[in-house]
Structure formats: structure tokens, C-alpha cells
Amino acid sequence: MTNKLPSVSRRTIVKAGAALGASAVFSPAILTYAQGETPIKIGMHDPFTGTYAAEGESEKRGALMALAEINAKGGMLGRKIELVTEDDAANAGLAAQKAHKLIEQDKVSLLMGAVSSATALSVNQVAHEKGMIYMVTGGHTDPVTGAQCHWTTFRICTTTYMLAAGLAETLYKKFGGKWYFITPDYAFGHTLQESYAKLLKKMGGTVLGNSLAPLGTTDFSSYLIKAEQSKPDVLINLTDGQDLVNSMKQAAQFGLTKKFAIGGGLSELEVLRALPREAKLGWWTLEWYWNQPNTPHVKEWVAAYQKIYTDGTYPSARTWFGYAGLHSLAMGVAKAKSLDAVKIARALEGLELPPEIKLQPNKVYFRPGDHQLMSSEFPGEVIQDGTYPNLFKVAEIVSGEKVALPVAETGCKLDYKS
Amino acid sequence: MTAATMERTGQDGRPPAGKTGPLLRMDNVSRHFGTLKAVDGVTFEMHAGELRAVIGPNGAGKTTFFNLISGLLPPTGGKVIFEGEDITGQTIVERVAKGIVRTFQITEVLPDLSVFENIRIGVETALRLNARPWISRRERAAINSRVFELIDIVNLDGKANRIVGELAHGDQRVVEVAVALSANPRLLLLDEPTAGMGDHETDHMVDLIRRLHRDQGMTILFIEHDMDIVFGIAQRITVLDQGRVLAEGEPDAISADPRVRAAYLGSLE
């Protein structure tokens, strides 16, 4: 089982483990267990290969930080905890298989993970069937805490609707109300686009058009041509990950960034970093940002991260998802004083994250009705000619509570057995 | 032998009695490839029970002639008549069902399968069982005994489980003949049956052809280059030259025919 320990899991983690051992902040307790106590295992599935590998890696780093902190403070219910990570390659079938493996073979007590929405939904099914608490770290699609919500599932990252609502007003006021959309053609994109359109109409603007771009599109020129022809005030680019990199590069090369404002939904530090100089612009929403001068504990946390991960990177929203995800589980267990899933679920409902974990100003808690974490949106603008890590200027930190749909409209009905 | 094969071939492989006239008749048949007249107005008759050779220099149109009989190529002119029925427009499959079965100049076997399996597929096809996704014990026994009967006829006893691709060339050609026999031919067409064989293998094949004719009463038409074989076993010989029939008759008459000597035999060796 030692192979599941962070110290030998992967190349980057080798460094991390060494750093953890030497670190003054974290005790090296992670590698040793209290005598006679078997550790509590927590299973994490994330993509470490394929298109979303960078995001998966970030989530894992955050979780490992939380792991060390929790163990330093005595673990869960007095037992040490251990994180077992599995590569799901962003494949839904493989993710479900790995979830079974974690539950049946590794005998984990809790589940967490997901970058791709499809994997979140497939593991959501498995966890519910097995009656195991599942903390979705990064699958954004609405049904996870909406139409397909289960009592076993909680989610850290925000919903697609919240992403849209976080930015729409800012863009409308600043640039005007004629918007053209480029939307990734899958459930995440559709719901996001509908949310934006609804918000725009409410404010009095018009939708000039919407291009559905298949996921994994490498060439966005045809969509950009359509957009240019409609002469919008704002081009809303809702693509994500590598697609966002590609579309922004092409928009910049076409000179469109000088013709109208470009904004969109989700962006990530990993994505902004991969953009070439000329494409680093536009208005986006992050779900967490490392540079929050006025928020307590953030600076310390970033420093702690860099002490462990010495490759010059900064923590991203994904890192925070992994970090907050594991801490939330630990807090839930502590509050429930038990590993019983129903008790943990009840304990997590309404649970508020303390400042040193939430790392943001607003109130952050799990909403009882749909198990969605009410965390903030960070709309803002990409800093032109910015260099990593100074790539983003947060305009506002919008409380999650303000932008989330009311529970009644999410379609979620929690299915506790009475 | 199974009931079905008996029904189609009669007691000893001979065609059912009661039909007169030639078994095969080619009526002024031509096959032109553009300006090349591979076969040009050939009229040809063959009777049941004959053992006939087709000879001719390279490019005389022998293989094309076979292709026209077996249905691999449609003729550009003329008629092919089998047992009094015009089969000119019929496909290979239909002709095989009538009993016109051939072997090829190049060995055509199922190289990765055993001798037994090669012949079995022929037997099963002759029984029209190809589409059957199951098989009963009785049927299997009947098929197997027919396969071993054929193996016995062609003298491959003891080699039933050998992989055909690993057999000597001569044995592979014998397997081909056995597969052709499995289709219960009324007319067996052998395209250069001894091509590429050593002396011993050739003797074996010649013996097989002779026995098929004598013991089974098989009607056989074969193309052959080796004149010792042709004159040794053929009852009649048809000589093709430049797509036409140059001469036809008994071996003695052919070897004495000055035209044949001039056009063909003289230039051969």
C-alpha cells in the first residue's frame, strides 16, 4: 500500500513528499501511523493523463496539502488518514470502475475528485449505490447538484449557472448589451449559455447569435467568422480548458480582440498560463485566485504551497478545490463523530468553512437543499502583457449565495431513505 | 457417402442415366479483351466419361477457355451449353451447383487449415450446409466419413491433420483436387495439375487423374504442358492456338498432325 502514499505516487509528488518531510510547517506524521490504528482511507479519482491532466494534478496537490494538515492535527476521529488517488483519464466508464476499485479493493471510507463533468456524474451514481459520501471537486455541470443530485454527493466547485451570474452584470454595464456566444456543445456549455441569455434578457440586452462548438474543437475560425459578422459588443466565449486556449489564440490572431470585448465563463490559472502573449486578455470568472491581499490566510497558504511544490507554480482554483474538498470531508466526519454516511451528510449540510480553509471573504457553506457549496465567483480581467503568475485582476468577489439559483429551481430533490 | 451426395451423382459418381448428347458444348464462343482475341470462335464438345487434355503454346487462350467454362469470365460472343441447357449467363455459383468444378493454375488452398478442414468445407458446401449455425452428431459423422472417403481417394491418408500450407507443393495440389471432388463434379476442370511438381509428385497426380477417370467414371478436362502426361493419359486432345481450335482428336492423330507439329510441337522442346 505504500505505493498509494504521496511519497512515491508520481514524479512531482516525490518532490512534494520530500518537501513535506523536511518542512517545518507540516509534521512528517504523514508517513507514520499511530500504533494499532488502521488509517482511514479517502479515495480520489482525477485525470492525470489526457487533456485534463493539468487540472487533475492541481486538485491532487491541494488534497495532499489538506491531507498533511489534517494528519498533523491528529487525523480523523483520532485515526490518521490516507489518500488513495486513481487516474480516471477523464473517461466516465473508467472513473466508475476506479470508484468501485477504491471502495471494494482499497476499502476507502470517503470519495472525492472529478474534473470532467461526465466522470462526476458516473461516480455520482456509484457513490449513491454504495451509500458513500462523494465530494465532487471540479465537475461543473448543473445536474450534479440539480436533476441528478443524490444525498451522498456534495460539490465544491460552483455550478455553471453561478459562473454566468458572476460575470454577466459586469460585462453588460461596461460594454453594452449586444452579445454573441460561442458555446461548447455539451451539457455544461448549454446550461451556461442559457443562464447567460436569461440574465442578459433580464438586464435588457439582446443575443445576436450562438455558435455551438463541439468539445475538443481545434479550429475556431469558422465560429469566429460568424461572430465577427454579427458585430457584437461582447463576444461571450464559454469554452473551457484547451478549447479556450485555442479559441482565444485564434481570436487574437484574427485581430478580433481589438474589435469588441471578449468575455466568458470559466477560466482557470492553468489555462491563462498556456495562452500566448497576444491572447492574454478578456473578462472571465475564476473560482478562486491566489492574489487576495485583503483576505486573511491566503498569503500564508500560497507560501505553504510553494514550500512543498518548488516548481515555481502558484496554487489555482483547482488546487483549492482539492484542498477544500478534503478539509470539508474531515470537518463533516468530525462533526458527525462517525463514518456513517447519513450522519456525515447531515453534518455537512449547512456546514460553514472556517477562514483558514475557505480562503475568501464571503460566507462559504454547503447549502442543505442541494449540497452545493456556496463559494464565491471571482470575475475580472486578464492582465494584458501579464506574466505568470500575475495574469488576472479580480474585479469583484461575488458571494456564491447571491448568484446561485434557488434550490427550488435547481431540480434537486435529495433522496435520503426515510 | 451421404444420401444427398448419392442422389446427385448416382451410384458411382457417374451422371444419372437417361441423358444423351454432349455433356458440355461450347458454341462459337469468343472472349475478346479489347483488340486481343484470347478465345475466338471456339466450338467444342465433350461427352460424359471423357478424359480430355487441352494443349497449346503459351498465350493460346487455354486458361481463358477454362474461365469461360467455369463462369469466371462472361463470353463476348457465343453460347455455353451444359447437359443441353444454356448456361452462358450463369454465375460461378450456379455452375458449381450444376457440377462444373475447377482447380487453378496457381494453388488455391486454405493454407492455415488442415487437409481435413480444407476438404470438409468442400463437403459441407456440397451439402449446402454453409448457412447452418449448428450441426448434429449424425450430420457431423456423415460429413467426416465423406471427408475421409475423399482423403482415401486422393491417397492423402495419414496427412489429414497436417496444415496444408506446410505440405509439399504436390500434396497441396492433391488437396485442391480433393476439394474439387468434394463438390461432386460432373465435369472436373484441372488447370495445369502438375505445374511445378517434381517427378515423384507428378507420377502421383497422373495416377490420381487416371484413377478418377477409371474408377469413378469422372469426366475430366485438363490443361497440361507436359506432353508425356498428355499423350500418356488423355483419350482425346484439343489443341488451341491463338484463341482458336487448331486440331482435335485422339493422341495418335494429334501427334501425327502436321499443323500441330508445325505450330506447336516443333517449337516446344
Binding site: 508520481r10 493523463t49 471494494e104 | 487449415l113 470438409r120 468445407i121 458446401t125 447452418r132
Partner: protein
């Protein structure tokens, strides 16, 4: 006789799998997945290894079976047997209807036309969001316990494995029967020498169609079980990459041998499951396994034994 003993031993081992697999670091769902993929690849191998039709779009029928089963449970009726039946029929019927387009092509053209058809099905499932769940996959259904009159068969993890094992046994028996029959002999003869068998009077294309349809039904059947395994299916279950993986599993194990695909599946699925848990560089190891097997086992792992299976 030795064969029968070996097969009986394997089958007993499979029946006992829920007890011994966890002891060597496996889990029941992995056993189910191996058997499901084994059904799919052995079905495909009727076409690929035994008839010589290089299908690179077989995942389409696997996926159609999966969606057929999932949608039956989600929209039609909460019955597991019905879901399996409908899924199998949907995938099998699609293969049967499309067979005439495919059967005339050979070699690389056969491969590409099957890819083309498979990808079209893939895009249908991705785009038809409202019904299929699009890119996110089809969720929101779950396998239902089976009622035999007063008798109830609870489909928990272990019992579902036995359902899969039953399906595997039936599929293997059917395929074995077919391959031992004149139809199976005809398939093999087509693979070996199409021209020869044509000259015996066999209409080859019809039999390629038949092999395509049989492979389609069996992979679709496997697909239905796969949807029920995790109560989930996604367009990735129809993508050409899965089709390619099926072919690779077959070649790994030995495409000329009846049980070769099973070995290939075990190597592929278990190696991926095991290696990806212990090293981040699992892809390199899997890649090296592929390369080494090609270089060291010219006909796949079971290739050496293949002859014994065919000579009967």
C-alpha cells in the same frame, strides 16, 4: 479431453472469482468488466479473427446496446431483462441493417467504412442532448432486481457478476457452437481464401454479412451489461478509440484463437487497472507491453495454441 478439463477449470475459477479475486488485489466489478469486454471482443473476433473482417467500429454496437438498455430503464420500464433484450436487439439490428453496406469492402476499406458508421453513431449520441445526455453521458437509471414469479434475484455487486457470468457462458456456448458448425467453417474458409470458397459455390458476401450481424448482436449484448455494471453510459462507449482498443485486445491475446480475446482483455484491462494505480507513467508500461507482445509473440499470446483450437 484435456480441453474440456481446462475449460471446466476456468469456469470453476470464474464461478469462484468473487472469493479469490479480492485476495489477490482485485474487486468484483473488475471481474464483471473483464467478462463484459471478453464477450464483446470474442463476439468481434467471430468477424475479425475467424472471418477476416477488420471491423474498427465495433464500439458503435457496444454503445448502442448500452444506450438501448439505459434508455429502456430510464424511459420505458424498470426491468433488467427487458433492458438487456432491447439493447441487444437495437445494437444487433443496427449491425444487421448496415451489413450490406459493409460486406462488399475488404481490408483497410472494411476498417474505414466501419469507422465511418461508428463515428456517425457517436456523433448522434453526443449531439442528441435531450435524450442521451450528450457529452455528459446517460445517467439516472439503475439496474432492477429480477423477479421470477415469487422468487427475487437481488442484483447486488456479486449477483450482478453472476448475471454477467451467465451471459458470458451463454455467449461463449453460442459462439462455440457457431464456430464448430458449417457456418463457422465457412467463415474461416472466407478468411483463408475467399476466391477458393467462392469457386465452391459460396456467396461470400452474404456470409460476411452474417458474421457482421452475429458480431453486432454479441457486442451489443455486452454493451447492455456494461451499461448495467455502473448504471451509466457515455458517448465514449461508442468512440473509435474503444473500437480500436477492442481490436488491440484481440490482437494481444491472439485473434486466431477462440479464447485469445479473453486473454487480451485480461492483459489490457487488468494491466491498465493495476499499473495506473501504482505509477503515473502507466501509459508507457502499457505501450511497452504492446510493443513487446508484437515483437515476441508473432500471433498474440495464445497464438501458439491457436492451432489446437481450430483442428477438430
Amino acid at each position: 479431453m484435456n480441453r474440456i478439463i481446462a475449460i471446466a477449470a476456468i469456469w470453476v475459477a470464474l464461478v469462484a472469482l468473487p472469493w479469490w479475486l479480492p485476495l489477490i488485489g482485485g474487486y468484483t466489478a473488475l471481474g464483471s468488466k473483464v467478462l463484459i469486454y471478453a464477450i464483446a471482443t470474442m463476439g468481434l473476433n467471430v468477424l475479425l479473427g475467424f472471418t477476416g473482417g477488420l471491423s474498427f467500429g465495433q464500439a458503435a454496437y457496444f454503445g448502442l446496446g448500452a444506450y438501448g438498455a439505459g434508455m429502456t430503464l430510464k424511459y420505458l420500464a424498470p426491468s433488467t431483462p427487458l433492458a438487456i433484450l432491447i439493447g441487444t436487439l437495437v445494437g444487433g439490428a443496427a449491425a444487421t441493417l448496415l451489413g450490406p453496406l459493409v460486406m462488399r469492402r475488404r481490408g483497410i476499406y472494411f476498417a474505414m467504412i466501419t469507422i465511418a458508421i461508428g463515428q456517425l453513431f457517436y456523433f448522434i449520441m453526443v449531439r442528441w442532448n435531450e435524450v442521451t445526455g450528450g457529452e455528459d453521458g446517460l445517467a439516472g437509471f439503475s439496474r432492477q432486481d429480477i423477479h421470477f414469479g415469487p422468487w427475487l434475484y437481488r442484483l447486488d455487486e456479486t449477483n450482478f457478476y453472476y448475471l454477467v457470468l451467465l451471459g458470458f457462458t451463454v455467449a461463449v456456448a453460442v459462439m462455440w457452437m457457431v464456430l464448430q458448425s458449417p457456418l463457422g467453417h465457412t467463415f474461416v474458409a472466407i478468411r483463408e481464401n475467399r476466391r477458393r470458397i467462392e469457386f465452391l459455390g459460396v456467396r461470400v458476401e452474404r456470409y460476411i454479412w452474417a458474421a457482421f450481424a452475429i458480431a453486432g448482436f454479441i457486442t451489443a449484448f455486452a454493451g447492455t451489461l456494461n451499461a448495467l455494471l455502473f448504471n451509466f453510459t457515455s458517448p465514449q462507449d461508442l468512440h473509435w478509440i474503444l473500437s480500436g482498443n477492442f481490436v488491440i485486445m484481440i490482437v494481444l491475446g491472439g485473434m486466431r484463437s477462440f479464447f485469445g480475446p479473453l486473454i487480451g482483455v485480461i492483459i489490457f484491462v487488468v494491466a491498465q487497472d493495476y499499473l495506473s494505480s501504482i505509477t503515473g507513467n502507466w501509459m508507457t508500461f502499457i505501450g511497452m507491453i504492446f510493443v513487446l507482445i508484437v515483437l515476441l509473440f508473432p500471433r498474440g499470446v495464445l497464438g501458439i495454441l491457436a492451432r489446437r483450437v481450430e483442428v477438430r
